[in-house]
Amino acid sequence: MKKLTNVRYPALQWLVCGAVALLITGLTSCEKDQGPLILNGHGDHGHSCDTVVDPPAGDTLSYNNFIKPMLAKGCVQGCHNPSHPKLDLRPPVSYNQLVADGFNAPYVDPVQPESSLLIRHLRGELLLMPQGGPAWSSEKIDSVLTWIRQGALNN
């Protein structure tokens, strides 16, 4: 072992020093930024003319019957399809993308439904979706919120 470190690899000490310097420099010269944090973002985004599908009161809101078609109609064309680098919302894959596979997944948080990325994007607290508007009506967003509150199930 002595031979290995002292004779064959005389540069070991240099390297250890270099690696430590690298680690220290790397950590101290870095940015320590967090964000973006969107503040005062709760604006009235108006009402769109989209048809609102009312879920049956009292029942568990079905992803496949209500949420999936809304995403398919409002998000896939032109944007959230396989050519989008982050989130593909075509009906066969939208659920997996929202909960696991999307770039920033999970987009839904049943523990804190109001903080779900999906909700914050739809409300315009983050970059407003659909991008460029018009925003979804509050009734539509509320039905998405209800679905998340009920556990964001693939039902």
Binding site: V16, L23, G26, S29, A105, L127
Partner: protein, 304 residues
């Protein structure tokens, strides 16, 4: 100032490895003299164990080319057939070209399609396990700097940094993420090799409320099945920045080695490839039946 710092950082990465380029000797140990404490060989076949790094360094003065591919995540439902095991879904791919300066050091340049990320990595094996167990483990230091080249999304005017005071704007530094690892492996028998790796990830920009430093402990191993095949597995525990419902990555697969090639086929729940992306995003829920298929191929060209 920021750019100067980054240049300094990259310079230090290179400088810290420079001495070995001139100082190291290469070539196998002399068996007649070193038979008592010769280094353990064939602990791993490739420089990667699925997602984690191994202590393996390819032979001195060899080039190698690496292809890492992760298909889309599918569940144990109709998506399995509809998406043809995930082949039809968006994939994550990384291509990399590496050069071994010696039997202990390599540098590698890679590109992955997740956030159009370029990365430079280096690994130095500073301790080598010996057959007489005087040195029971092999150890390597690994560093990776990743540069996101994808454009940042536009931010609304009411966006602020985490302090809620400074107006938010993207900077070049926000594109960078680093990860440093200390890899410790031990070949316990002819068949078993295990390794433990503390991973430190530093992202210059994280979502508000998260730490810039993410700490992970990765454990994995290899069980040799035959002359050229082995079972490989790994699990990583992420200690902080665990968002609601965070799931740790777990992978299991098989490995085939031929002269110059390493093929690894596996089932995993982590759809990213770079450590700074795997351990900072949620993996799919294996217990819920969600998984993905992936493969790594490494081709080495060496000089005699």
């Amino acid at each position: 100032m920021l750019q100067t710092n980054k240049c300094l950082f990259v310079g230090l990465v290179l400088a810290s490895f420079l001495p070995t380029l001139v100082a190291q000797e290469d070539g196998p140990e002399n068996p007649s003299q070193e038979s008592v404490s010769s280094p353990v060989e064939f602990a791993f076949t490739g420089t990667q164990l699925i997602n984690a790094q191994t202590t393996k360094i390819q032979p001195a003065r060899s080039w190698y080319f690496e292809i890492q591919h992760r298909f889309g995540t599918v569940g144990l439902d109709s998506s399995l057939v509809e998406q043809f095991l995930g082949f039809d879904l968006p994939s994550t791919i990384r291509l990399a070209l590496g050069w071994s300066f010696s039997d202990r050091l390599y540098l590698e340049l890679g590109r992955t399609n997740a956030s159009k990320t370029l990365d430079l990595e280096g690994k130095y094996q500073f301790a080598r396990q010996t057959t007489n167990w005087k040195m029971p483990v092999s150890m390597a230091l690994y560093a990776n700097a990743a540069l996101r080249t994808e454009d940042f999304p536009s931010v609304p005017p009411n966006a602020y940094f985490g302090d809620s005071i400074t107006p938010f704007r993207y900077k070049f530094g926000h594109r960078l993420a680093y990860n440093t690892q200390l890899i410790v492996s031990s070949k316990l028998s002819e068949r078993w090799t295990l390794q433990l790796t503390p991973v430190f990830i530093y992202q210059n920009l994280v979502p508000a409320g998260n730490d810039n430093l993410t700490m992970v402990l990765s454990a994995g191993g290899r069980y040799k099945l035959g002359f050229s095949s082995a079972l490989i597995f790994e699990y990583a525990r992420v200690f902080n920045n665990r968002s609601a419902g965070f799931i740790d990555p777990f992978s299991v697969g098989v490995e085939f080695g031929t002269a110059g090639h390493v093929f690894q086929l596996f089932v995993s729940n982590a759809s990213r490839i770079l450590e700074s992306q795997i351990y900072t995003t949620r993996s799919a829920d294996l217990l819920d039946g969600h998984f993905l298929l992936g493969f790594n191929i490494q081709r080495t060209y060496w000089r005699k």
